[in-house]
């Protein structure tokens, strides 16, 4: 399965935990104190609790329910109910491949994770209640400063020299997580204008598209 974009690097600082969905699988993504990042099945093997409700302790993720610690390798390293016990090596979270490229976090449920290369800057992340197809159609039909964008491949939309790229990750049938990139080093007012364009695109997509 291909790698999917699940958000921006800048939105997941050290010590932060987030929930993601990739190919209909619930995923927890978290960053250790040392800056390393991991993506696992969002389920503690002990009692099935969502690990995305957990908390980072140093370089481990702890489950909220009973505080079991898991290292970045996925292995359970500490069980608070039995502080002197070395947890059996068989207890571990289910790991997925994760990569960070161009300020975007990518997760793959099967195989290796890799991002698409780009020289763009991260702009924002959003969730739209529409399919990817509807969303891209709506983007083509959303004007900025009176002009419609030129639609390119791979979710790319151009307004003259400025480019916006919409990286889509389907969440079920009619919901899409969009990680938005834009041309590098744009002035702040221009970035704001592009962000507002994203909002307008979302409103149009959620109304059912361009028609």
């Amino acid at each position: 399965m291909p790698s999917m974009p699940v958000g921006l690097t800048r939105d997941l600082p050290a010590g932060r935990v987030m929930h993601a969905e990739v190919d209909e699988v619930d995923v927890v993504v978290w960053r250790a104190a040392n800056g390393e990042i991991a993506a696992w099945n969002n389920r503690c093997p002990h009692r099935g609790m969502a690990l995305s409700h957990g908390f980072v302790r140093g370089n481990s993720l702890a489950c909220l329910y009973h505080g079991w610690h898991y290292e970045r390798s996925g292995r359970c390293s500490y069980i608070p109910a039995h502080p002197d016990l070395e947890p059996p090596a068989t207890i571990h979270a289910t790991k997925y491949a994760i990569a960070e490229e161009g300020g975007v976090i990518w997760v793959a449920i099967d195989g290796d994770a890799s991002g698409s290369e780009n020289d763009l800057d991260p702009l924002r992340s959003m969730i739209v209640d529409a399919s990817e197809e509807t969303l891209l159609t709506a983007a083509s039909a959303t004007a900025l400063g009176g002009g419609l964008p030129d639609a390119g491949p791979e979710g790319q939309f151009s307004f003259g020299a400025d480019v916006v790229r919409l990286l889509c990750n389907a969440l079920g049938e009619n919901r899409t997580q969009v990680t938005v990139l834009a041309s590098p080093a744009l002035p702040v007012p221009r970035r704001r204008a592009l962000s507002r364009w994203c909002e307008a695109m979302r409103r149009l997509a959620e109304k059912g598209g361009a028609s």
Partner: protein, 280 residues
């Protein structure tokens, strides 16, 4: 799922207070019911007008949908003079009724879910305790369960080692007996009566019978409510929603021996309503 087995248990569907404002519309094991007061002569009917038996026990109205109901268990301590009996109202939880019971039997979560109330780090250790299925009553019991608690009850001041006994007299009921801070020779009784709305949703009726002359009724209800709302944030985020009975699906440790015995006991009885069985 095993609806036939579940139908022959009794379930709390109202408490003595909630019927004062009029009948309670509710659902039990997927069947819509109307419970009409007063509580001591309550009637329980379904949408077609079929009437089901009702009895008032432990300050709740109990009913059963089955043709051959098992006898409703007793909680003899509840009738002791001097205790205050506190029905704590109802909490709706989107989880399996069996997960709600299992969570009630668990102490290892206290420091993390009920932080600084029922437990606190670094006192997280669960010492060995006894678990058995008592043949004569066919109940799950865990005894001599000891845990450090910063504020075990409304009537507890500083932290104490609290001693618990746990009892499961029916698949959706759990009772605990714990150290009573103002009266060390006695035990407080706290129970949850879980009303299975469906296999994945339940109404939980906490009930207490305590020696506590200081707290007001609403303070005691408030304390229990606060605890249970913390539990709900866990219960609604466990996957799968139904309780897995296949031991390979969720890994227990020694602290979980009560839960292990509970799951085995459910399996032995075929009490699968709200459970995920191997062949599911």
């Amino acid at each position: 799922m095993s609806l036939d087995y579940a139908k022959n248990d009794w379930y709390a569907v109202a408490d003595i207070f909630c019927l004062k404002d009029g009948p309670r519309q509710t659902r039990l094991l997927g069947t819509d019911l109307t419970v009409t007061g007063p509580a001591d002569t309550a009637t329980v009917t379904d949408a077609e007008g079929n009437r089901y038996p009702a009895q008032l026990r432990f300050d709740h109205v109990w009913t059963t949908l089955g043709d051959a109901p098992r006898t409703l268990f007793e909680i003899p301590q509840g009738d002791e003079p001097g205790r205050r009996r506190v029905p704590c109202g109802v909490v709706r939880v989107r989880c399996s009724p069996l997960r709600a019971v299992e969570n009630f039997l668990d102490i290892a979560h206290f420091p993390f879910v009920h932080t600084d109330i029922l437990g606190s780090e670094p006192q997280t250790e669960v010492r060995p305790y006894n678990v058995e299925i008592r043949d004569e009553t066919d109940e799950v019991w865990a005894t001599q369960v000891k845990f450090f608690q910063p504020q075990a009850a409304r009537s507890a001041g500083d932290g104490i080692i609290t001693e618990y006994d746990y009892r499961v007299p029916a698949p959706t009921t759990a009772v605990l007996y714990k150290t009573c801070p103002p009266k060390p020779e006695a035990q407080d009784v706290i129970a949850i009566f879980v009303q299975p709305v469906s296999e994945t949703e339940c109404d939980v009726w906490p009930w207490m019978a305590l020696y506590d002359d200081e707290s007001t009724f609403s303070e005691m209800v408030q304390f229990q409510h606060e605890i249970f709302v913390q539990d709900r944030s866990i219960l609604e985020n466990q996957r799968p929603v139904k309780l897995p009975l296949d031991p390979r699906m969720e890994i227990p440790m020694r602290a979980d021996l009560t839960s292990v015995a509970y799951r085995r006991w459910l399996k032995k009885h075929g009490a699968f309503y709200g459970a995920l069985t191997e062949d599911a």
